[in-house]
Amino acid sequence: MAKLLFFGRLGDLAGGIERAVGLSEPHSVSALIAVLAAGDRLLGSALLEDRVRYALNGTIVDREALVEDGDELAFLPPVSGG
């Protein structure tokens, strides 16, 4: 299983901050988003917005990065702290 994390408003759209997906073979981030979009088009398009970044196992990656079982992929919308 790969662990998906949805932060900020993406968590509201995904119905929870965390979701596990079983990946029989490595998927690019894009391919994974396509799978999620098939089940929820609103979530799918939110994950593709320009300002959303992707972190694979704690490192920022682009959509070509490959995700496999055991990985943690986080979807990071625009931040705001302080």
């Binding site: 994390l5 932060f7 900020g8 408003r9 968590g11 509201d12 901050i17 972190a55 704690g58 986080a74 990071l76 919308p77 625009p78 931040v79 705001s80 702290g81 302080g82």
Partner: protein
Amino acid sequence: MLGRVAIASTPFDPEAEIAAFRKALDDSGAIVTFTGQVRPSRGDGSVTTLSLQHYPGMTERGIESMLDDAAQRWSLEAALVIHRVGDLRPHEPIVLVATASRHRRAAFEAADFLMDYLKSRALLWKSETGPNGKLWIEPRDEDYADAARWDRQPPGGR
């Protein structure tokens, strides 16, 4: 430089933290602190809860690398960042930044720099829940502009 980053999931006492920070100093003559706290409700009497979310591990590492950046830009003896996460009520402290240096300019600028980072670049997500529901907050244009000031002065420039 002595740097410390803490993400607090329960309320913290800014002045106790500042006192401990100051007592540990050796050679500094200048200490600057910034405390951010939840502002009260918007005049309509409604109570708003502020919620902050972080990405455990990655958020701390990001802030730590920003402390390293500050240490390259200014001569600091110590710097501290404490940031609350979870649900906060009006007047609760959200963030504390403290910096210490021999002279005041470095401490002022470094605290300003760290706050700009925390406001618009640290991996933190803030929402407000009030009578009209939940709203995710994004940095103001001013916050992005403030953070961009430092990009024009990369580390080592002074």
